[in-house]
Amino acid sequence: GGPGPRPPPGCPQRRLGARERRDMQREILAVLGLPGRPRPRAPPAASRLPASAPLFMLDLYRAMASDDDDDDAGPPERRLGRADLVMSFVNMVERDHVLGRQEPHWKEFLFDLTQIPAGEAVTAAEFRIYKEPSTQLVNRTLHVSTFQVVQEHSNRESDLFFLDLQTLQAGDEGWLVLDVTAASDRWLLSRHKDLGLRLYVETEDGLSVDPGRAGLLGQRAPRSRRPFMVTFFRASPSPGRAPR
């Protein structure tokens, strides 16, 4: 790429050696902000069907990529806002609490947040769960409330922090998007702990409903309808790269 004359045709071109190729890849990974090459686990062949989180993220990618050419233009996708990093979290532990008629029913999801980068400002966070039409609660209005599990107790109910409330019909179908942005403030304080999100479903009369009966799908759903969490970040200015 220099201003000097190009070598005449037929001159042997130097090829990168194996170590130089590795060094080159390491440099490019560093530009992309990665300490090393990711090694995702390949899913079993039988389950290599489109999964919910990648499908959603692919839509976001197309929206973000269309905005790449002009940093000064407003984002075409409202959800993106000014975010330049979006992470989806699919690794979770699901717990259901369906005991007796007096206890409130709930469904809880525990997310591993250790992959969240430090120094990134959260602009929004969503928990996405698919709802099928409920065949058991016909023509009923349902209230879905979301809480963050702040502290569990062995001898009493856990401490909960209210996040979101959505009202829908039992016959509705589609992705339910729950705003959990308020939980992000606590991530910075307890990054070593899993994030617990607990969902309660109630009828208009205040009766607690099993979220599964209401049509909310958990981890045992088909891959394209499994719940996941999405977090939008605005990157802080990158620290200067260490000189090589």
Binding site: R37, P38, Y61, D68
Partner: protein, 139 residues
């Protein structure tokens, strides 16, 4: 004041005029001896060729481009030269061993977004700024 250049070898080209001669209007300084002016060139970074498609979802690569070309006086408007670059090029004509030509470099860069898996199979979407050359110029 001009400072002496350090570790600089004199260029052995025949395109530079003598220090006490300014180019006339018929001198082919601009684009002389076939050298192209500062402009953008193709450069494609292929994630496929890097063998990264096991963790990169999209894109399979992107056009980064690069800048190359001469920044010789007089600097055309297509060279996106700054006033300083114009001045530097003029001084280079007078003192080629003391002051180098202006550099052909990116003047506008844009971002590119990458969608990929991390090692926990989470899907990450990140916009990387200043990755694509949109325009080159003499600076």
């Amino acid at each position: 004041a001009l400072r002496p250049l350090k570790r600089r070898q004199p260029k052995r080209t025949n395109e530079l005029p003598q220090p006490n001669k300014l180019p006339g209007i018929f001198d082919a300084v601009h684009g002389s001896n076939g050298r192209q002016v500062c402009r953008r060139h193709e450069l494609y970074v292929s994630f496929r060729d890097l063998g990264w498609l096991d963790w990169v979802i999209a894109p399979q690569g992107y056009s980064a481009y690069y800048c190359e070309g001469e920044c010789s006086f007089p600097l055309d408007s297509c060279m996106n030269a700054t006033n300083h670059a114009i001045l530097q090029s003029l001084v280079h004509l007078m003192k080629p061993d003391a002051v180098p030509k202006a550099c052909c470099a990116p003047t506008k860069l844009s971002a590119t977004s990458v969608l990929y898996y991390d090692s926990s199979n989470n899907v990450i979407l990140r916009k990387h700024r200043n990755m694509v050359v949109k325009a080159c110029g003499c600076h």
